[in-house]
Symmetry: C2
Subunit: 435 residues, 2 copies
């Protein structure tokens, strides 16, 4: 039986998970791969308390793994885009296949990495880079190979989803939940990447590239995080039958491709609305299949390791076959990728949730709705809350029909200019996800 030798670089949360699962489920995994898979070299600056690596060669310098002539597949789990990039490129140049869980690396340097791999005749696999244990890369590249993708929308950042779930179920403040997420180890000490949408944007770039056969593109992703969300909007949304989720949305329209990451109201009847805590889910709408949804753990040691091992099995099974018969890195042949026209954010059409504080005087509401009517914005729902005792203003919530971002902004600035309206209009996009 063919023995495929694995070198694991980085023995942190994910690396130790890969090591342990390969040991625990080795027989089963070999039977599925139809070859023996053995970890024969580990590159890690320090030992991991849960990993007994005594029977494995361990190097403190990860580059020693990439230089090891016996290694077939280098598993990059050190993270970041500097050392990881050098390690992946050295591995490729040394004729090794690469498996990585590094979304930033693929989103930012994927083009260069995939081109180098194609030239050297090796594979770079990255299932674990998007939505952790959910095999969403495989679903998009292979399972839906017959489909044109119309759009996809994903809850692809676990930390943001944990914070939003807690805000919704317990009426908590953003800052308060963030602190708990950091204590629980869900959010990094510097949580910017998670809560400002950068991490979700990296993953969206990868999904969109496969879905639309376009080059990886993070520059053109509109990005908005969850730091500005108020608990009252979470509550008002619930009253109207919506849940606020942080979504990555990629949509192919007649005007081009939209890529955006932002808080979004989704109807409570949509399965995405029921995805809570650190769970991830990606909804896909494609021409043949219609709507489909893929749900599971988007982070954590063994869920992420599950995807890393699926990649290892896929590569191991076909390792001696000609590269032209492997699944291409981004689904289509690299030379078939085509940069589409990108739709600028002001031209993107969504529904909107608007909230503003209004002095409850005769005609005030009518002035506001008149502005919406004059901008041709249809109102799906409007609620004027009761005036709290002693307050000067009442909250007014409007749910609009689909309208271009620029037109909504124009109406919003006119509403803000009304003498009866106090402060700015809170504006959150809303997607029905039903077509």
């Amino acid at each position: 039986m063919r023995v495929v030798q694995i070198g694991i670089c980085g023995l942190g949360t994910v690396g130790s998970g890969v090591y342990e699962i390969l040991k625990r489920n080795g027989g089963l995994i070999s039977s599925r791969a139809n070859c023996a898979i053995e970890v024969t070299h580990v590159g890690a600056r320090r030992d991991h308390p849960n990993c007994d690596t005594q029977s494995t060669r361990v190097s403190r310098d990860v580059f020693d793994v990439a230089k090891d002539p016996d290694i077939d597949i280098v598993v990059e789990l050190i993270g970041g885009t500097s050392v990881a990039f050098d390690l992946v490129m050295m591995s490729i140049n040394n004729g090794k296949h690469v498996v990585t869980a590094n979304k930033a690396l693929i989103a930012e340097n994927g083009a260069e990495i995939f081109a180098a791999a194609a030239q050297r005749g090796v594979t770079v696999a990255y299932e674990a880079a998007v939505a952790g244990g959910i095999p969403i890369i495989k679903v998009l590249r292979e399972g839906l190979a017959g489909n044109q993708i119309n759009w996809l929308a994903g809850i692809i950042n676990g930390t943001s989803n944990f914070i939003l779930s807690e805000m919704a179920s317990k009426q908590r403040e953003f800052a308060d939940v963030l602190k708990e997420a950091q204590e629980k180890g869900y959010a990094e000490a510097d949580p910017t990447f998670d809560i400002e949408g950068v991490d979700a944007a990296h993953k969206l770039a990868i999904l969109a590239s496969i879905a639309f056969a376009m080059p990886l593109n993070i520059e053109d992703i509109y990005m908005e995080g969850i730091t500005q969300l108020q608990p009252c909007d979470v509550t008002y949304a619930a009253d109207l039958g919506y849940v606020i989720k942080h979504l990555g949305v990629a949509r192919q329209t007649t005007e081009g491709v939209e890529l955006r990451v932002h808080p979004t109201l989704v109807p409570v009847s949509c399965l995405l609305a029921g995805v809570n805590d650190v769970l991830n889910a990606v909804m896909i709408h494609s021409d043949a299949l219609g709507s489909s949804l893929f749900y599971g753990r988007g982070a954590g040691s063994e869920p992420t390791a599950s995807s890393v091992i699926a990649d290892i099995v896929d590569i191991s099974r076909v390792i001696d076959n000609p590269p032209s018969t492997w699944v291409s890195a981004l689904g289509c042949q690299l030379e078939a990728l085509d940069a589409p026209k990108m739709v600028p954010m002001e031209c993107v059409e969504t529904c909107f949730y608007l909230r503003f504080a209004m002095r409850d005087t005769p005609g005030a509401l009518s002035d506001a709705t008149k502005i919406l009517a004059e901008t041709s914005i249809s109102i799906e729902a409007i609620v004027q809350k009761e005036q709290p005792a002693g307050a000067d203003f009442v909250d007014v919530i409007v749910v609009t029909d689909r309208v271009r971002e620029a037109e909504c902004k124009q109406a919003v600035s006119q509403i803000e200019a009304l003498s009866t309206v106090h402060g700015s209009v809170v504006t959150i996009r809303l997607e029905r996800l039903d077509d």
Copy 2:
């Protein structure tokens, strides 16, 4: 570029979908397969109104396709297990790869078919046989290759789910909705396979075989359909926070493997509870990933065709590679499949929903609960409904903790023997699906 020649046998709902999608998305599909895929022969007893087959060779005898020396892949979409079996075996013997959407054929004759294919060095792919367009076979065989599966639970019969969804949302009677389903073409003129659970059992046998590396086994599946369900139980379940779904459940326990198909109460907070109409979903619980869920259309022309084409692409890409490098038909190597100990239904442990009509006299409820206590059955919830004016009995609903089927039955027959209890106890299993 390599040209892979496809022969489609059967030009009904699914066959016409395959034909049309290959035409519509041909360029994209070729780019994903890295070869040209051409339908060069169609076997169909009659033309399909939506299919323009003028430029394709058409035979009225499907066996002509299996005999066509130019055909690489025979797509069997005629259904049934007699002609379809002969066609698939002839195709294999003639050295052709096979793609089929035929769940009955795979569940009943899979062992013989896969063995013949392995011997002849061809592939038999059947993604479309389970859950239509959801790539659940690929997920189980490849995406979760690193995992031991603990259990899976699926809504895998669209007709049953449509009927249950209508009963729940509109308080309709079973027979009434079934009639509508037949008129809409969801249910066959003879709907037995759908509503008695046979179709779901076929699919469950396939999923369980892959999940637990066991031979296909439909004989040992416990099977119960939805024909006995009363609207009042759907309503009472909803009042208690549950939705009744028809589930196929496969579970690996310390005592062996359970395979069963039956109506089941699931908590409304479980994503499966939100899967309505003809939609399908499969929830999987595995050691590394934990819970995951895969949702989409389980039937229909293009959703099913989507899976057929994914199989065609997978085969076409690797068609010239050695068979040992293909994904094995049931995930593991055929010789590694091992028949596990099967758990007989009376030893299966689930929670239960019980309903009985009771004369509301002092001590009556206490007599019933005493029986449950003496059988060591814990009560999770108990509700005694108000006595309708003029009625002699009140409805009592009990939700139990986990208990063996045999012990529950014993308690139920004792409750039925009480002089205060009228008629039989309605018994429906309940699964929390949270571990």
